[in-house]
């Protein structure tokens, strides 16, 4: 039952076709450079910083981002920008300035391999396996989301969408490896920006500019018919910090401490600093200095994205409130916020520009998929296959394995997409479990990089304890109004210890518990066990044992420390402007 249908004109199909020709053409043009496994998995470490930086942000700019952030923009207003200005920028600056010297300098080929060099095999295996499974599922979920969206709004057959998107991503990664993924991510980055800028501009123009939008959103906040169903003070949709003293005072239902610690510290640093999906882009850079600049360059567009992805949601909710039926309803009769972007495209884009917008939307799904596939094939080949299954083969063997596992990985993703379509609960549960595994990771890396006394046993049992703490917290608490099960409370059958106002608050606090559990147990076990690495072995892996990076021959305005400071200062200014 399509509740929104967009008709594409021939010119829209033409634009889409041109885009796909270039996506595939890039893979084709790069195929002759793929001579060694290092070319295929690491881009031969030969990519300039600005390209890595745009790929870094594009790999993160998956489907969930564009569709989900616009939906959040409608539901929660400008507070959604906390996911950028608090939940991304500080961590991106940190990974660039403090962590990249170890990732890039250690010559590790992946994040799990760093864990092996720093700690031991079991810590690496734990991280590699959970990461490999997670990426393949994420890629499947992206594919499913794309196919379902195209089915809903354009009436394309689901199976065809899956087949086409899988084949295109397969073709360009198979041919050109990580370089092809990175180049296409740069293309996708500009496609997304250029597809959304006119949309935002037309949207703002039609509501009468920013001041008029603020006035309209104030009436949304004051109306019990708003998405939260509760009356808030003026500015609840247009001020990011002013209403965060209590979870009842803002539509997101979180307070500042849980947000800053849970999102800003644990979740954000855990993602940006340890997720190989993004770190791989920086590791492909052509020099240490370029690798360190990669996340800092990426932080600049990241900081400005709220204007591109959150603002359309805010415009949409203002129009929805005025017109009553601007956003469609889902099958349960609730407002379907995930349709925010498609509805805006349909409303403001005539044929032609619509083609650019739809292409941008597809590009965002594919960049997320391809990012997961390249991270998956590298971790599989280097960290699992070469380490535990067939070590000591000539390089040609691993290059071939890279090609094979790219095909296999995409086939598993396709299977996951169909599982997601049939059994939504399984996917919710899997994402929950991955959340438990990921939440504590940053504690392990922090202690690993800055405390040489941390041991292999400490890291491994710390990770287990953190994962356990997240699961335990989840089993004992529940968001308000939710039923016992995937949402929580399963340990105590509903007699929960604490009820959170919304599930986001529960997520933030789960992360805080996971991180603390991992941090404390890693320290305790490390102190109780003997060191398994000597100072000599830890050179280049731990802060106190590594000579500071000297940036030779780099212009003063390209120094990472300066760039990082400028980026942080700009983020603070943005927070103050929209306080």
């Amino acid at each position: 039952m399509p509740h929104l249908s967009i008709a594409l004109a021939p010119v829209d199909y033409l634009i889409l076709a041109v885009y796909f020709v270039f996506v595939l053409g890039i893979g084709w043009a790069l195929r002759r450079y793929m001579k060694t496994s290092s070319d295929f998995f690491l881009s031969g470490r030969a990519i300039p910083a600005w390209i890595c930086g745009l790929a870094f942000i594009s790999a993160n700019l998956g489907a969930q981002e564009v569709i989900g952030m616009a939906a959040s923009g409608a539901k929660y207003g400008i507070m959604t920008s906390h996911f950028y200005w608090v939940g991304a920028i500080p961590a991106m600056v940190f990974v660039g300035i403090f962590m990249m010297p170890f990732y890039y300098g250690s010559k590790a080929r992946s994040v799990p391999e760093y864990l092996k060099l720093r700690f031991d095999e079991k810590t690496r295996a734990f991280n590699a396996i959970s990461f490999a499974v997670m990426t393949v599922f994420s890629s499947g979920i992206s594919m499913h989301a794309l196919a379902r969206l195209l089915e809903q709004i354009l009436g394309f057959p689901y199976d065809l969408c899956i087949a086409v998107s899988a084949l295109i991503v397969l073709a360009y990664i198979f041919l050109g490896g990580l370089t092809s993924a990175i180049y296409n991510e740069v293309l996708q980055f500009f496609m997304i920006v250029f597809g959304f800028v006119p949309l935002v501009w037309l949207g703002l123009e039609s509501v009468g500019g920013w001041d008029a939008l603020v006035a309209k959103l104030n009436t949304v906040a004051a109306s019990p018919a708003n998405p939260a169903g509760k009356v808030f003070a003026e500015g609840a949709w247009t001020q990011s910090w002013a209403h965060m003293t209590s979870p009842d005072a803002n539509p997101m239902g979180v307070e500042w401490f849980g947000m800053v610690m849970g999102l800003g510290f644990v979740l954000s640093f855990g993602y940006w600093c340890t997720d190989f999906l993004v770190v791989q882009r920086a590791m492909a850079a052509d020099s240490m200095s370029a690798a360190r600049r990669t996340p800092l360059i990426a932080a600049v567009p990241k900081m400005l994205f709220p204007a591109l992805v959150i603002l359309p949601g805010m415009i949409a909710i203002a129009m929805h409130h005025e017109l009553g039926d601007f956003l469609p309803k889902d099958e349960n009769g609730a407002t379907d916020f995930n349709m925010t972007v498609p509805v805006m495209l349909a409303r403001f884009c005539p044929s032609g520009l619509l083609g650019v917008g739809i292409t941008a939307l597809m590009a965002s799904f594919m960049s997320g998929m391809a990012g997961n596939v390249t991270a998956f094939n590298t971790v599989w080949t280097y960290d699992l296959y070469q380490s535990y299954i067939r070590p000591g083969q000539p390089d040609r063997h691993y290059l071939r394995m890279g090609h094979i596992i790219t095909v296999v990985g995409i086939l598993i993703s396709v299977a996951c997409a169909y599982v997601a379509r049939e059994f939504n609960n399984i996917m919710d549960m899997l994402q929950l479990v991955f959340g438990f595994v990921n939440a504590p990771l940053f504690a392990t890396f922090l202690l690993g990089m800055f405390w040489r006394r941390a041991t292999g046993h400490g890291a491994f049992f710390g990770l287990l304890a953190g994962t356990g703490a997240a699961a335990l917290h989840h089993g004992l608490t529940l968001p308000a109004g939710a039923t016992v099960g995937v949402k929580g409370g399963w340990l105590v059958g509903g007699h929960v210890l604490h009820t959170y106002p919304v599930d986001m608050a529960q997520n933030f606090w789960a992360a805080i518990f996971a991180w603390t559990g991992c941090f404390v147990v890693t320290i305790a076990v490390s102190l109780a066990t003997r060191r398994n690495k000597t100072d000599d072995e830890l050179r280049g892996l731990v802060y106190s044992l590594t000579p500071r990076v000297k940036e030779h021959g780099v212009a003063w305005y390209l120094q990472p420390a300066l760039l990082g400071t400028v980026v942080l200062a700009a983020a603070v200014v943005l927070n103050l402007i929209f306080w």
């Binding site: 010119v11 041109v18 037309l202 032609g352």
Partner: protein, 78 residues
């Protein structure tokens, strides 16, 4: 460097930009269609912008290629 990404990117945006602006010219008088975009012929203007962006990318790629050629010593020099 193996392949300058600005080359394919520039070509793509020039082509898309030209398609879009031509379409904008053809549909110039279709006031009904452009009601959606508040009366602006967004296809023409945005198409021109995309083409200009693409051309700038091509120019940068060309400049970089010339510089690499000049800096690299020719292989048959004594």
């Amino acid at each position: 460097m193996q392949l300058d990404v600005r080359l394919p990117m520039g070509m793509m945006f020039v082509i898309i930009g030209v398609i879009l602006s031509l379409y904008g010219l053809i549909t110039w008088s279709d006031a009904e269609m452009y009601q959606r975009s508040l009366g602006y012929n967004v296809n023409l203007w945005w198409g021109l912008f995309l083409a200009a962006f693409g051309a700038a990318m091509l120019l940068l790629a060309r400049r970089a290629a010339i510089r690499t050629k000049r800096d690299a010593p020719s292989p048959q020099s004594p």
